[in-house]
Amino acid sequence: MFDIAWLWGLLGGLMIGGAGALYLLVNGRVMGASGIVGGLVDGSGRDSWAERASFLAGLIALPGLAVLLSGGSDTHLTGNWALVILGGLLVGLGTRLANGCTSGHGVCGISRLSLRGIVATVFYILAGGIVMVLARHVLGWI
């Protein structure tokens, strides 16, 4: 079967990296989704709240508009509420403890060969893989 998902992945990836490059070279900030929103909810980013809120507005508005115009998309998020809530809590707590997520440590960290970014990425991918495999193949949750 011919599958072009990888090509969309590559194109989308280039846009993600392009957005990070813009944020770095124009605003002088590292583009990390968890840091941008986290600084707003815990108050540590009070001084740059408008910049953070603007980023989030763009992040929510453009994909939302694109999905509206293109006729829909589906996140295929599990309907198991316990998993949704536990997953959200772990993602929020973990990314703020680690000071970064897939965008900050993954994209922005690895691209400058930051040791912290590389170590974080190894740990979240290993943990994600183990939990995913256990939850699907052993426990049958997903």
Binding site: A5, W6, W8, G12, G13, L14, M15, I16, G17, A19, G20, A21, L24, L25, V26, G28, V37, V41, A50, F55, A57, L59, I60, A61, P63, G64, V67, S73, D74, T75, T78, W81, L83, V84, I85, L86, G87, G88, L90, G92, L93, G94, T95, A98, N99, T102, S103, V107, I110, R112, L115, R116, V119, A120, F123, L126, A127, G129, V131, M132
Partner: protein, 147 residues
């Protein structure tokens, strides 16, 4: 200030559109990549590879320019922090939540418009976890003081 906000909105918009078209707002793609024992989906590797190219170029330009277009000093060294227990423990917890749900913070925000009640509940739980993080970090640092 206004220019900075506009650039931030543009950056967020491009980031979000990239997450959407790359398939990263679809949890089956993310979980399909994490599940190496299932019908493995390689897409996420292409997304990460594609994202690293412009960023690697940007860091090279940044190392030469040192100052951002709108005036700030570009953060070229990662704040003097080294690999510590909050980094390792936090990343492990994040990975576990990512595996269970298939969502990380960027896609969780980007898909707010069409993610339904489940997406909204995930986002609220994520923000709650973020609010709890400073206290958890203080506790961790009391147990294992940073060296």
């Amino acid at each position: 200030m206004m220019k900075r906000n506009l650039a931030a909105a543009l950056s967020g918009a491009i980031f979000g559109l990239g997450l959407l078209i790359s398939g990263m707002t679809d949890t089956t793609r993310v979980q399909g990549w994490l599940d190496v024992f299932g019908d493995w989906d390689p897409t996420l590797a292409f997304v990460m590879g594609g994202a690293l190219i412009p960023m690697a170029i940007a860091w090279r330009i940044a190392a030469r320019q040192r100052t951002a277009l709108l005036g700030r000093t570009i953060p070229l060294s990662p704040g003097g922090r080294t690999v510590d227990s909050p980094l390792v423990i936090g990343s492990t917890l994040f990975g576990a939540g990512w595996g269970l749900s298939g969502l990380c913070p960027g896609p969780a925000l980007a898909s707010l418009g069409w993610g339904g009640t489940g997406g909204l509940v995930f986002l609220i739980a994520m923000l709650a976890g973020m609010v709890a993080a400073p206290a958890a970090r203080a506790r961790l640092e009391r147990m294992a003081p940073a060296t």
